[in-house]
């Protein structure tokens, strides 16, 4: 589905990603994880051509993502960022219907799609007539998800989609997202810094460290067979405090 070959990205001469080779397989959930500054957000932006690599290539469905092709590809990729990135001057419905409207969808088709997706992301339809500032954080992410899904994209790119939410709402949305991924069977590329969340969603986890892939594999492999000392430390650091509190030290 998505293929990154020897991708290097620099900002002002500082390499943020160095020679990344990565294949995102169709129909699977791949989660990029890493500390801040490890290059995970850069990687997801490269995927839909918001930025272009200094070296190496990004391919989507076998075709190279360039400045020229990116625009068309983006319409086939749903993208959700941390706080949703909803346009404050449009209602939920306005946000969701922006692209289909531009592409000339008849309003009946748009309405049908909106109802279908609202049900899918479990958002009451009335909420769509409110403006982003009138919605809760969880509702905003649900609208953002609808907007990303509107054109029925082949891949969903999610950059810390739950990062700014309260724990309870976050938990609720995690469950709903998981159900959604399963029922849609879409290819998903997601970024998070939370190992638990990564493990919950991922078929495969890619752990980044300073712009390079440190280890990739299912969550169990990272926990049980860390490839390096860094991975072991990363996993240890992310074990929840509750674990330590409830299990007496051995």
């Amino acid at each position: 589905m998505l293929k990154l070959s020897r991708v290097t990205k620099e900002y002002d001469g500082v390499a943020v990603l160095r020679g990344i080779d990565l294949l995102i397989p169709r129909g699977r959930v791949t989660v990029i994880i890493g500390a801040s500054g490890s290059g995970k957000s850069t990687l997801i932006r490269l995927a839909n051509g918001l930025i272009l690599p200094n070296q190496g290539t990004v391919e989507f469905m076998g075709a190279r993502v360039t400045a020229l092709t990116a625009l068309a590809f983006r319409r086939r990729m749903g993208y959700v960022i941390q706080e949703g990135g909803l346009f404050p001057h449009l209602t939920g419905r306005g946000n969701v219907a922006l692209m289909p409207g531009r592409l000339g969808w008849p309003s009946a088709r748009i309405d049908a799609r909106v109802i279908e997706l609202a049900e899918l992301v479990r958002l009451p339809v009335e909420a769509l007539d409110r403006y982003p500032s009138q919605l809760s954080g969880g509702e905003r992410q649900r609208v953002a998800l609808m907007r990303a899904l509107m054109l029925d994209p082949e891949i969903l790119l999610l950059d810390e989609p739950l990062g700014a939410l309260d724990p309870l709402i976050r938990y609720e949305l995690q469950t709903d997202l998981k159900t959604l991924f399963t029922s849609l069977g879409k290819t998903v590329l997601m970024v998070t810094h939370d190992l638990g969340e990564a493990g919950y969603f991922a078929d495969e986890i890619v752990l980044l460290r300073e712009g390079a892939i440190e280890q990739r594999g299912p969550v169990a492999a990272l926990i049980e067979a860390p490839a390096t000392a860094y991975v072991a430390r990363f996993v240890q650091a992310q074990r929840s405090l509750i674990d330590n509190l409830t299990r007496p030290p051995t």
């Binding site: 932006r45 319409r75 990729m77 990135g85 404050p88």
Partner: protein, 498 residues
């Protein structure tokens, strides 16, 4: 945003076309910005009208240079001038010391301008000071001023600037005074009355000499030349309107100094409109019953309102059309943006009066140069606020728009401009309010508007007239503030106002 611009534009184009439809006069008379010139302009106008020549009087257009330029470019066909001004100011370098009317006529003809015979009176410059103060200090001549370097001089701006004015006078009499300021002629009289000034330049036919009890200081070195009033007219006028010349000739030698002082006093002290003063003179002296066309308050208010709105509306609409794209450019290309903002900023620093005057050689006088000047002034606030509004959009929203696959222009139209609309509108509001105030200066170059009664009011020391311009201008500014509140509700998306 686009809706708003289109609406504004169509509104003002409507005004514009109604202006074009006005009757085109056969002859346009100009006058300078002081009462005597306006009266003489009115007299010429009414004499021509009495001969069925359709004549328009563009009154109080500005200073000498202004009228002279307007005559050369054909903005006006004739105006009253003084021989001294022509010799000392306009042709000082071309007459080579010859100061006779025949030489003057020849030089004028070279410019395509003809001159009538003198009308009679000599309105030369003189220096005046309050009689009581002059008596106390024992000053009766200009030379006498040399002994009192502490006296404060306030001269009309024109007198300060022209070669035969203060610079020459100071040299001829070797006057040591340092406290010398330039100000409006009519304000100078009030300065004398209040004691903040001691000496000013006066004209020998000023009505104010008596009114303010001034002592006219004797020109004991014979410095000031003759300033005989004449009419200057374009050489092509005699061919175009043969009836003009005989009509003007009737006036030659008819206006004595006493007559002129009396007319000035009627206008300035008795507050008769110049048109009525001129009509009275023509009736008594020449037995001509002229059409003085007195205009009622509501008619003149309406006319000034239309003129003012035309100035503001067209200049603002054009500024919006140009400045919003420039603002977008600024936000897109920061380096070019700094250049554009710098340029607009420099325009803003040019004093408004200077900018208006710069327009004259390029565009002549009247509505268009004023509109261009106002347009230039309106650019900066709109460019700046458009640029700021666009730059302040959170990058995450732009990224979201890109990620959706919105092309550049669609992103601008559907996301960026709506998000920046409140700031852009604020810039337009600033420009509009500045514009309303600035447009009152348009009257100085013959563009009319609320500045016209203000200008006349200052000249005639008539507070009522000043208020006739100042109150509507202030109300218009308030109205525009209010209109923008309303426009905000209509143009700024609801989601941004929650």
């Amino acid at each position: 945003m686009i809706r708003g611009t289109v609406l504004l534009l169509s509104l003002w184009l409507g005004y514009g076309s109604s202006l074009e439809a006005r009757e085109v006069p056969d002859v346009i008379v100009g006058s300078k910005q002081f009462t005597e010139s306006v009266i003489l302009g009115e007299i010429a106008t009414q004499v021509l009208r009495s001969r069925d020549i359709e004549t328009q009087h563009k009154d109080q257009l500005g200073g000498t240079r202004f009228l002279w330029q307007a005559l050369l470019t054909g903005e006006i066909d004739l105006y009253a001038e003084y021989t001294g001004t022509l010799m000392e100011e306009i042709f000082a370098d071309r007459l080579q010391g010859r100061r006779d009317l025949a030489t003057l006529r020849r030089v004028l003809a070279g410019e395509g301008v003809l001159m009538s015979e003198p009308l009679g009176f000599n309105n030369t410059y003189a220096l005046g000071m309050p009689a009581a103060r002059a008596d106390r200090l024992g000053i009766s001549t200009i030379s006498g001023l040399r002994e009192h370097p502490e006296l404060k001089f306030g001269f009309s701006n024109e007198f300060m600037a022209r070669a035969d004015g203060w610079p020459g006078l100071r040299q001829a009499y070797r006057l040591p005074h340092r406290a010398v300021i330039g100000l409006d002629h009519d304000l100078a009289y009030r300065g004398l009355a209040s004691g903040s000034l001691d000496v000013t330049d006066i004209y020998t036919t000023d009505a104010d000499i008596q009114y303010y009890s001034l002592r006219v200081l004797q020109d004991d070195r014979g410095y000031f030349p003759d300033y005989r009033a004449v009419f200057l007219y374009r050489a092509d006028l005699t061919g175009r309107q043969p009836a003009v010349l005989p009509a003007l000739r009737q006036l030659e030698g008819q206006i004595s100094e006493e007559t002129m002082i009396a007319m000035n006093a009627e206008a300035k002290l008795d507050k008769l409109p110049e048109s009525q003063v001129a009509a009275g003179f023509l009736r008594k002296r020449l037995g001509i019953t002229a059409d003085s066309r007195r205009v009622g308050l509501s008619t003149s208010l309406w006319r000034h309102t239309v003129e003012h709105l035309t100035l503001v509306g067209i200049s603002l609409a054009a500024a919006i059309l140009i400045a919003v794209p420039l603002g977008i450019l600024c936000a897109r290309r920061p380096r070019l943006g700094r250049l554009v903002l710098g340029g607009a900023g420099i325009l803003q620093t040019i004093p408004s009066l200077a900018l208006l005057v710069f327009m004259i050689p390029l565009l002549g006088i009247g509505t268009w140069p004023a509109i261009v000047a106002l347009f230039l002034y309106s650019l900066l606030p709109i460019v700046r606020d458009t640029c700021t509004g666009l730059r302040d959009i959170p990058p995450s929203l732009l990224e979201s728009a890109d990620a959706l696959g919105l092309p550049r222009f669609a992103r601008l139209r559907l996301v960026e401009l709506p998000l920046a609309s409140r700031t852009i509108l604020a810039g337009i509001k600033t420009a509009a309010v500045i514009n309303v105030g600035m447009a009152t200066l348009g009257a100085l170059i013959g563009a009319g508007g609320y500045g016209q009664p203000i200008l006349t009011g200052i000249r005639l020391d008539d507070k009522g007239l000043i208020l006739q311009g100042a109150i509507p201008a202030a109300l218009l500014a308030l109205f525009i503030e209010g209109a923008f509140e309303f426009a905000e509700r209509w143009l700024v998306p609801k989601g941004l106002r929650l």
